[in-house]
């Protein structure tokens, strides 16, 4: 490698995602007319440039690199229409110049990054150097918003299993701003210039000025002095960051040298890079040698293009790879190209007002005019040539929001962020998962749903016996598997709608709508595996590993069934088994049993082998039965949950009578029914179930009633028990005259205070009775009291008069003391 100085190379330092930078760069390129354009970006993505510059490509787009082994690490290089890099590549394409990326290959970047993480200590210690490095890198590139490394979406919530201790980029940014002294240097520059923040300082000083060659000179001067101010501290405090930058610059120099060696004249080469590196790249002294190149670490990784969205580009989404207001900068870029930059405030504020009007808040044109004037005078106060984004926002708040940010917040967010979503030409962005999804959609005849218009789809999961091939017979079932898998991975293609009761077991209603967001999610799914099935399986195992509650695990079992993933079912069962082993919580156990029971019952229609579920079902049921008595010693509040649990356990007992130990269950219920020291409502419910099953004979039942409703039993015990009893099979209850005699006698024997207490329980018990049932009760009581049945019924089901209303009101304020 020759070490000849290359002072002749033109270096254009930019801030990434800077419309001003893009505008000036284009003019600079027109002037220099280079034969080669070198751009800071992963050198292994140079082959993708032909896709980036295609006419079908609509920014924002991104290059995504990811390790193909777990834990998955990712790096992202986003491009917006106003990225200087994108503008440079387009220019090179138009003018027949060669173009290439010259930064470290993504595999090296990923390797260096994970190496840096390993070296950094865990926990709080990790956060500081990492956060520091990001902010440094960001600001060091003359305020470019986050360089490649920071765009790693590693900490995204999608893959909790693979993440490290890095907080999401957004949060990191915050912490570093308050923490490290170097960052405050940039904030101090902004404060000295009288600006609220660095972004505003940058916009006002570098974006608005369209005088020829001003950008390149001023940015260069600014960043080289910033570099000299920070580099000493960086060498000591952020060693890794410093070393990383040195390696990158050395590699980029090598790239420049290679281009010169390939025959391009140095003065016909333009290098586009972050302004921080501009000074270093002016010569190629210290370019990386072949020997050095070999020592660079590297991991196995893959690279793909993906469509991106302004929402993700903005810091709002927590992705953190971008700038604060992509929609606004896009508008600025357009205005620059049309030569109407000074009209941007008018466009922006009119659009905000228009959006307000759309949402029903009328604002007059006069107010928009005044808002523009105010924004301009705010800019003048800072010596700016035209309003910056903060000025526009503040003017909008004052005039259009009449002082309230909340009025305009939505419209401002819409304008600042925008809804722009990128697109790539067909076939460019093909990760294996995208291929797999396309293939499956075609196979299952779902590709016509791949539109942005929402369409409904009803699936009949039962075998279609009128067709010949098996694939056709189970078409809908396989569709259902795919859609459930997509939902599990988080690809927002389809949403399930609730089905009606009678078809619940075999029908599914879906709403399908394709969106570019779903495309992005599909690309991201490739981080989880090569196919939809593998990605779904891995997502499920991560969820299983993370779940801590029985209910969660049992719902995952259900998900596994819905997705038709038999192999995952076993893992889910193990997870549930492990969680349930220590649980004595009957309510949770019952919820799990109910999920399992559903999975078993619907297993046939989904052609799932549910046999492996049964032993676990049996085991859980046994546990629930054994702990029933213990759990029934609870207060009334907990009893609500228990009543539901007993109900679902009983359903399971009947549905899987062959598998579960029903005898034990009934024995335990009998014991619960006869015990006086458990919650009376639960005892009552147990008694009702036993009656229903015919385990308890009529005489035994009457004995029990009379024992429970003996005179002198406190109201909460007697009436509470009755409330439990009245939960089930009320017809049987109503027809037992003896029972009502007992209840009647019991109530008559209560003292006034006790009676008021009993009323609370009885009222609650009868509140769930249907009107018809109430009438039947009235008839029975009427017979007992010797009143005409019709009259009694009328009294009971008629409207309350005022006095009675008042009495009930008083009852509401009844002091329950300590029960």
């Amino acid at each position: 490698m020759s070490a000849v100085g290359t002072a002749g190379v033109h270096v254009f330092g930019v801030r990434h995602l800077s419309p001003g930078g893009a505008w000036h760069l284009l003019r600079f390129l027109d002037e220099v007319k280079p034969t080669a354009v070198l751009v800071e970006g992963p050198s292994d993505a140079s082959s993708e440039i032909r896709h980036i510059v295609r006419n079908e490509t609509v920014p924002p787009i991104a290059i995504l690199a990811y390790t193909d082994q777990v834990p998955v690490h990712t790096v992202l290089w986003p491009f917006a229409s106003y990225s200087p890099e994108y503008a440079a590549l387009k220019w090179a394409d138009r003018n027949g110049a060669e173009s290439a990326f010259i930064d470290l290959p993504s595999s090296v970047t990923l390797a260096l990054r994970s190496a840096r993480q390993k070296e950094a200590p865990e926990g709080a210690g990790d956060k500081l150097p990492d956060g520091e490095s990001e902010a440094l890198d960001e600001d060091a590139n003359a305020g470019q918003p986050r360089d490649a490394e920071e765009q790693s979406s590693n900490a995204d919530s999608k893959q909790p299993g693979s993440t490290d201790a890095i907080p999401s980029a957004g949060a990191d940014d915050e912490s570093s701003r308050s923490g490290s002294p170097e960052v405050s240097l940039y904030e101090r520059v902004a404060a000295l210039a009288g600006e609220p923040d660095y972004d505003t300082y940058w916009e006002r000083h570098y974006e608005h000025n369209l005088s020829p060659d001003v950008y390149r000179q001023t940015v260069k001067a600014f960043s080289s002095s910033m570099r000299s101010l920070t580099i000493a501290g960086e060498r000591e405090q952020a060693v890794h960051e410093f070393a990383h930058n040195a390696v990158r610059e050395s590699y980029m120099k090598r790239g420049i040298q290679e281009m010169i060696d390939a025959g391009h004249k140095p003065d016909k080469i333009v290098v586009v890079c972050g302004a921080y590196h501009a000074e270093a790249l002016e010569n190629t002294d210290g370019a990386m040698t072949d020997a050095e190149l070999k020592t660079l670490p590297s991991v196995s990784s893959k690279l793909t293009m993906m469509p991106y969205s302004y929402f993700r580009l903005s810091s709002l989404s927590g992705y953190g790879a971008g700038n604060n207001a992509p929609g606004y900068y896009e508008a600025m870029w357009q205005a620059m190209q049309e030569g109407t930059l000074e009209g941007l405030p008018h466009v922006y504020l009119s659009a905000v007002a228009a959006r307000l009007r759309e949402s029903g808040t009328f604002r007059s044109t006069a107010e928009v005019i005044e808002a523009v004037r105010m924004a301009e005078s705010l800019a003048a106060l800072h010596g700016g040539s035209q309003p910056a984004l903060v000025d526009l926002r503040d003017a909008a708040k004052t005039l259009l929001g009449r002082g309230e940010l909340s009025v305009v917040a939505d419209a401002l967010a819409f304008m600042d962020v925008g809804t722009g979503i990128g697109a790539l030409a067909e076939g460019v962005s093909q990760t294996p998962v995208q291929d797999d999804l396309n293939r499956q959609l075609k196979e299952l005849k779902l590709d016509k749903y791949r539109t942005t218009v929402a369409q409904e789809l009803t699936l009949d999961l039962r075998e279609n016996r009128r067709v010949k091939s098996e694939a056709a017979a189970f078409l809908d079932l396989n569709r259902s598997f795919l859609l459930h898998r997509l939902a599990l991975i988080g690809i927002s293609l389809a949403q399930v709608k609730p089905s009606s009761q009678q078809e619940a077991s075999w029908a599914e209603h879906w709403v399908l709508q394709w969106s570019p967001e779903a495309e992005i999610q599909t690309v991201e799914a490739s981080l989880m595996g090569e196919t939809i099935e593998i990605a779904a399986a891995r997502t499920l195992s991560q969820k299983l590993a993370a779940c801590t509650a029985i209910a969660e695990a049992s719902s995952l079992i259900r998900t596994a069934c819905l997705c038709g993933m038999a192999s995952q079912l076993a893992a889910s069962l193990t997870a549930l088994d492990a969680l349930a082993a220590d649980s004595r919580d009957v309510v949770q156990l019952a919820a799990a049993i109910s999920e399992l029971s559903k999975a078993v019952s619907y297993g046939d229609v989904r052609r799932m082998d549910t046999a492996p579920l049964l032993p676990l079902l049996e085991k859980l049921f046994l546990r629930a039965s054994l702990f029933l008595l213990e759990a029934s010693g609870c207060n009334d509040e907990a009893a609500m949950g228990m009543m539901e649990a007993i109900g679902s356990l009983h359903n399971a007992a009947q549905e899987h009578a062959g598998q579960v130990d029903e005898e034990l269950w009934l024995a335990k219920l009998t014991e619960l029914s006869s015990r006086d020291d458990r919650n009376p409502r639960l005892s009552g419910l147990a008694c009702a179930i036993l009656m229903e099953r015919g385990v308890l004979s009529a005489e035994a039942c009457e004995q029990e009633v009379s024992r429970r409703l003996s005179p002198g039993i406190p109201a909460e015990l007697g009436a509470g028990w009755f409330e439990g009893l009245a939960q089930r099979n009320r017809y049987a209850l109503v027809s037992r005259i003896a029972l009502w005699e007992q209840l009647n006698a019991y109530i008559a024997g209560l003292e006034k205070e006790q009676f008021a207490r009993a009323l609370v329980f009885l009222r609650r018990a009868f509140s769930v009775f249907a009107p018809r049932e109430k009438t039947m009760v009235a008839e029975v009581l009427g017979e007992l009291w010797g009143v005409d049945a019709g009259q009694a019924a009328e009294l009971l089901s008629g409207e309350l008069n005022e006095q009675e209303e008042k009495q009930i009101e008083e009852l509401n304020e009844f002091d329950f003391e300590d029960f």
Partner: protein, 367 residues
């Protein structure tokens, strides 16, 4: 010292342009910016006057602490000859900001309409000297101009305090003044046209009893800026400290300025009661019915200083603070008293030894 100056010394409260006369003069002398028509200094100099800084070697004290951007927005409004409406909870320095802005821009903060339920349209437009009106009929000499009309004539800034307290029809008299920038005097067949520099700064309360909602038509003619309560403890302590020492100097209170400790306690109590939770956000606290603003913290502390000077040894004691707190927080009804008692017993008691003295003093007043 001439008589006029002597007179000024005796005034209970000096207007801002007198109080900060040397600062304004220094700013004018050092001003290099472009001065808008009708203004006496450039917008940048006005900003320095309000937010503090330095002019030609003279230090400029900050008049409004906290949010510099709001002041910039207020000044930008006045540069575009729009009327400015400052809205905020009671005691968020609306009038204070309005007075200082007027003093800096126009040099006379005395053209004030004070809005009350009894304010009439004559206070906004003009009225007549009835003796002369009866004697000579309508003549220019018989015309009594409102502060707003005088501001129009001079190309200055009029202030409308508590605009939302005046009746809606009185407020509406402003609508045509603000859009046409003229007042027609039908009786004389004349029109009064505003000169360059004319504007109005109005203030209004958001949360108070007895206020009239402003019409949309009027709101549309104002640039509305909402002044927030101080954003953090330190800012509020700084504001209170500064104003207390200024007021104490003005009233010649013979007491030591409150210690940082006392400021911290008072501001903490006020902030907690205002926000309805403890500063660490761990505890929910009931808020009293009335507003508990920074302005009240200031008057509480100056009141305590007066108590200490007149009946004590010049040092603010816990008992003085307790008396002040009692008066500031328990305004009218028994509910406030309960809220305050609850705060004393549930929050203040657990604050440790630093708060012991104040707790005992408050407890004594609320057995």
């Amino acid at each position: 010292m001439n008589g006029n100056e002597q007179q000024l010394q005796d005034v209970l409260r000096l207007p801002a342009e007198q109080l900060y006369r040397h600062e304004l003069e220094a700013l004018k002398a050092a001003d290099k910016g472009k001065v808008p028509a009708g203004w006496q200094m450039s917008p940048q100099a006005v900003l320095t006057f309000i937010t503090g800084g330095e002019a030609g070697g003279t230090p400029i004290t900050p008049k409004y602490i906290g949010n510099k951007r709001l002041v910039e927005m207020a000044i930008a409004t006045l540069v575009t000859d729009r009327a400015l409406l400052l809205i905020g909870e009671p005691g968020t320095a609306k009038s204070w900001l309005s007075e200082n802005l007027t003093a800096a821009i126009y040099g006379n903060s005395g053209l004030v309409v004070q809005g009350t339920a009894g304010t009439t349209e004559e206070h906004v437009r003009y009225s007549w000297n009835y003796a002369m009106l009866l004697a000579n009929g309508p003549t220019p000499e018989a015309l009594v101009q409102s502060p707003i009309m005088r501001a129009m004539e001079a190309g200055g800034i009029a202030r409308f305090e508590e605009i939302s307290r005046s009746a809606s029809e009185v407020q509406d008299a402003l609508i045509s003044i603000l859009s046409e920038k003229t007042i027609s005097i039908a009786e004389l067949g004349k029109e009064m046209n505003a000169r360059k520099g004319f504007s109005i700064i109005a203030t209004a309360n958001t949360r108070d009893r007895g206020v009239n909602e402003m019409s949309a038509a009027l709101k549309r003619r104002f640039n509305i800026i909402v002044l927030p309560a101080p954003s953090d403890l330190e800012t509020e302590i700084e504001i209170v400290r500064k104003r207390v020492s200024e007021i104490a100097a003005q009233y010649d209170l013979q007491a030591a300025a409150p210690a940082h400790d006392a400021l911290l306690k008072v501001v903490t109590i006020f902030r907690e009661l205002r926000s309805g939770m403890s500063l660490d956000k761990k505890e929910k606290i009931k808020s009293p019915g009335g507003a508990i603003s920074t302005a009240e913290a200031i008057s509480l502390l100056t009141g305590s200083m007066a108590l200490a000077a007149s009946f004590g040894d010049g040092e603010i004691r816990d008992a003085d603070l307790a008396a002040g707190l009692q008066g500031a927080i328990v305004k009218d009804d028994d509910k406030d008293k309960l809220v305050w008692q609850e705060y004393i017993n549930n929050v203040m008691k657990k604050r440790g030894s630093d708060w012991r003295g104040l707790y005992a003093a408050c407890k004594e007043l609320n057995p």
